[in-house]
Symmetry: C2
C-alpha cells in the first residue's frame, strides 16, 4: 500500500474546513497521536485533524479519498491492539472534540452521543437519570465511547450485560467518499435489510468513521455486593467460574486474577489493602447486582456454597462503597501495572468458559517451553483471559524470534477449542499476523471484499485487521 | 433477473447427489413449497430438494451457481414476509431433513443445531438440561430455528432476552459457490475481524445457506407469573407499557392486544375462558420470570401499582400452569385467527417504545382516511406493533390501489420517529416496495454490494429484500 504524502496544498485545504487551530502539525500533537497503549509502537501521522462536526469529517474524508491520503481515526488512544496507530502516516482524525452527549432519552432508555465522550462520563451522565450503560472497559476513565464501538469492547460487566455490540442500536457514520448514513433505527429490534450496525461495530475504523452513536440503556441496578475470593490453586479458581454459572447464578462481574496480577497492582498503587498469604495462587472478584438486597445476599450465599467445594482462603466481603472502589481500582489497574515493569505483549484469548482451566495450563506450558513468564487475568465469566507476556530477563533474540511462534501455539490451542484470538481488544495492528489461524482464505476473502465495498481506495485505517 | 429453467439433465445431477426420494417434483410438494404464511401468494418452485448434509448443499449450490439456477432456501414456511417464496421458480431448498440437535453443551450453555429443528423442540430439549433458549416466535410450534436465524425473529420474550441475533454465537454456512465456512467462534465475545455472524443473521437467505447454528443459552428460570390486564382505552394500555419500564421493571413478556385481537382469537378457538366486558378496549398480557417466587410476586405488585394510575378492569391472575398455557395459546393464535376471517395484509411496525400510543393512533387515523380496518397487537415492550389490515368489505380497487399508499403513510410516520418497517418479520417479498422509505440509495447501495460479495451471480433467494 502506498499513499500520497501530505503537502502544503493539503494543509491549506484542511485549514479551510477546520480553521487553523484544529489542523495540528506541532511535535507534541504528532507525538501524542503516534502511539496508543499498545506496546511501544511509534507511527507518527503527518497531520492531526480535530473535527467538530459530521460535515467536517465528510469533507475531510472526501478529500483524502480523492487524493489517496491515509486516514486513521483516533479515540482516546487506549487501545491494546494498535488500532489507532497511523502505520502509513497521513491524517490522524483525532475525535476528542466531538465530545457531546446529544440526548438522554429517559422515556426509551436510550442515549445518543458523539464518539469523543469518555465512557465513564457517559455512564455518569445516564446514572444521574437512573439509567445504566453497563459496558465498562478497564480504561473507562479515559477511553472514548467511539473507540469502544469501533473495537467492540467488553469489560467486567459483559458477563451479565453483554459487550458493546449488545448495546448499540444505531450509528451515524461517514463513508470514505464523504457520504453520511445512519446504519439502522432507534429500536430494540430491527429486521429491515442487512445489519449494517452490527457490521460496523467492531470494524476498527476500517469501514467508516463513526460520528453518532445510539445506545440502549437499562434501569440502573440499585444494589450490588462484591467479594474477593482467594484460591490455593489458580486452576481451581478457573474451574470454580463455570460451577457458579452451572448453579444458576449470573454475577454482574466474575473476574480472575493470578497471584502476580493482584500483587503487581498492589505494588503499583503502593496499596496494602489486602493481605495475601504466601500460598494463595489466584483470586476471583465476584459482583452481583440488582434491586433487592435480600436477593443479592441470597446469591452471594449460594455462590459461597458453590465455592466451598474448592480450597479457598478467607473471603473478603467488601463492606463499604470505598472498599468496593478500592477492589475495582486494583482490578482495573492490573494491565497497566504489569506493563509498567517490563517490555510486554498482551494477548486477549477467549474460549468457551469451561475451557478456562485448560487455557491457563496451556499458556503456562507454552511459557515453560519457550522460556517466557506471563501474568494472566481477565473476564473469566466470559472465558476471556488476558495473557500479559513479560520480557523480563529474556534475551532480545528469543523475544523477537521465538515469541511469535509461542503465541501461535497458544492461538492454535484457542482455535482448536472453538475460541478465538481476541475477545475484546480487536485485531488492529498487532494481531494481524495471526488472523490465518482462525480464518481461512475464504473467510478473509469475504472480509476483504466487504472492506472494498465501503472503502474501495483503502484509505481508512490502512494496515489494520488484514 | 432471469434464471435457467430446470431441465432433465439438472434433475439427473440432483439425483446423483441426493438420491431419488429427495428430489421432488410431485404436485403435492411443489404446491406445499409454493406458498408460506404470507397472504395468499403462490410461486411454485420447479423442483424441491431435501438435503441432509452440508456437503449435499455445497454440491447443489455450486451446480446452481455455475448454471445460474435460482435457489430459495425454505424453513417451515411460517414466514410472514414471503421470504421462502420461490418467486423465480428454480430450486426450493427444503431444509426439513436437517433436523438434528447436534450438541447441547451444558458446561458452556450452548446448543449446536441443524437449521431444520422446530424451535419449540429445541426449547424443550434444552429445558430438559435446565437451560433456556428464550426466543419464541408465536409460530414456535412449527417454525424452524434456521428460519428464525435467517429472519432474525423475535417473539414475546425478546423484551427481556433479546431477539435471535442476541443468541447466535456462530454459524456454519454454505456460500453460493459451494464453499463452507464458519462465521465466528463459540465464545460469548469476539473481536476478531468483521462480524459475519451478525451480518448473516437476518439476511433472509440471500447471502448464504445456514447449515449449523451455535446458540447461547441461559439457565432456565424456575418460576414465572402471568397476568392479563383489561383497559378501557387502547391508548392507555400502550401508555402503561412505558410506565412499567420507567418504574424499573423488566417483564419477560409485555404483550398488547386490541379488543378485536383477543375476541377474534377466542372465537377462532371457540374459547370462553375470558369474559370481556363491552367497554374494554385492549389488554396487556404481562409475564415476569426468575428463580425467586417472592421476588416475582413483589414485581407483579409493583407493576399493579404502576397500572393503578390507569383505568383498568379486573386483572386476571393466572393461577395454574394450565391457565397460563391457555392465555398464551390465545395470544399466540391472534395472527392466524385474524387472518382466518378475511383477506389481509400484516405489517410489522416498530418504534421507540414511548411512541406506541402515537403509532396506534396513526394506524387508526390512516385507516379512517383510507377506509380500512385493522387489528393491532404485538410485542409492546419492544415497541413492536403488528398491524393486521383486513380487507373485510373493502372493494378490490381500493384494496389494490390505495392500500399501498396508506401503508406508505404509516411507514413514513414510523421512520419519522426513528422506528422502522420490520421489527421481526423481515422484508422478504412483501415489504420490498417500502425499503426506500427507510433507506436511501447509499444505504441500499452498500447492501446490494454486500449481496454481490457473497452471491455475485444473484442465485440465492432472488427477488427478496431489495
Amino acid at each position: 500500500m502506498s499513499f500520497k504524502k501530505i503537502e502544503t496544498q493539503d494543509l491549506a485545504f484542511f485549514h479551510k474546513i477546520l480553521a487553523e487551530n484544529r489542523v495540528l502539525v506541532d511535535q507534541e500533537n504528532i507525538d501524542r497521536c503516534a502511539s496508543d497503549e499498545t506496546e511501544d509502537f511509534v507511527f507518527p501521522p503527518e497531520v492531526v485533524l480535530q473535527p467538530e462536526t459530521t460535515d467536517e469529517i465528510s469533507q475531510v474524508l472526501a478529500y483524502c479519498n480523492t487524493h489517496h491520503i491515509a486516514v486513521t481515526p483516533r479515540g482516546a488512544g487506549t487501545g491494546l491492539s494498535g488500532g489507532a496507530l497511523p502505520v502509513f502516516g497521513g491524517v490522524c482524525l483525532d475525535m476528542r472534540r466531538m465530545n457531546h452527549i446529544l440526548d438522554i432519552d429517559t422515556d426509551n432508555f436510550q442515549v445518543t452521543t458523539e464518539p469523543g465522550v469518555i465512557t465513564e462520563a457517559l455512564q455518569n451522565a445516564v446514572i444521574e437519570k437512573g439509567l445504566f450503560y453497563p459496558v465498562d472497559p478497564s480504561s473507562r476513565g479515559s477511553c472514548f465511547i467511539g473507540g469502544n464501538v469501533a473495537e467492540n469492547s467488553g469489560g467486567p460487566r459483559a458477563v451479565k450485560y453483554g459487550v458493546v455490540k449488545d448495546s448499540v442500536l444505531n450509528l451515524e457514520v461517514v463513508l470514505p467518499d464523504g457520504s453520511v448514513i445512519w446504519t439502522g433505527a432507534n429500536t430494540l429490534k430491527n429486521a429491515t435489510g442487512y445489519n449494517l450496525t452490527q457490521l460496523l461495530t467492531g470494524s476498527e475504523g476500517t469501514l467508516a468513521v463513526i460520528t453518532r452513536i445510539v445506545l440502549k440503556l437499562v434501569p440502573y441496578p440499585k444494589e450490588n455486593l462484591l467479594i474477593l475470593v482467594p484460591f490455593y490453586s489458580a486452576s481451581d479458581a478457573c474451574a470454580a467460574v463455570n460451577r457458579i454459572f452451572l448453579a444458576g447464578f449470573t454475577p454482574s462481574a466474575l473476574e480472575f486474577m493470578e497471584r502476580d496480577a493482584l500483587t503487581c497492582a498492589m505494588n503499583y498503587y503502593q496499596s496494602n489493602t489486602i493481605a495475601i498469604p504466601d500460598d494463595i495462587q489466584a483470586h476471583l472478584l465476584i459482583e452481583v447486582d440488582g434491586n433487592n438486597k435480600e436477593v443479592l445476599f441470597g446469591e452471594i450465599e449460594g455462590i459461597s456454597e458453590v465455592l466451598s467445594a474448592f480450597r479457598t482462603g478467607e473471603v473478603l466481603f467488601a463492606e463499604s462503597h470505598e472498599q468496593k472502589q478500592e477492589l475495582w481500582k486494583l482490578r482495573r489497574i492490573v494491565g497497566e501495572a504489569v506493563k509498567n515493569g517490563s517490555i510486554y505483549k498482551e494477548e486477549d484469548t477467549v474460549v468457551p468458559r469451561s475451557r478456562l482451566p485448560e487455557l491457563l495450563q496451556t499458556v503456562k506450558a507454552v511459557g515453560n517451553k519457550y522460556g517466557f513468564k506471563s501474568v494472566c487475568y481477565g473476564h473469566a465469566g466470559d472465558g476471556n483471559l488476558h495473557v500479559n507476556i513479560v520480557k523480563g530477563d529474556l534475551d532480545d533474540k528469543t523475544w523477537e524470534e521465538e515469541l511469535p511462534t509461542a503465541i501461535r501455539e497458544i492461538f492454535h490451542y484457542v482455535h482448536s477449542v472453538k475460541g478465538t484470538i481476541s475477545g475484546e481488544h480487536g485485531i488492529g495492528y498487532v494481531q494481524r499476523p495471526y488472523m490465518d489461524i482462525v480464518f481461512n482464505d475464504i473467510q478473509l476473502g469475504l472480509m476483504r471484499e466487504i472492506k472494498k465495498v465501503f472503502d474501495p481506495n483503502g484509505i481508512l485505517n490502512p494496515g489494520k485487521v488484514f
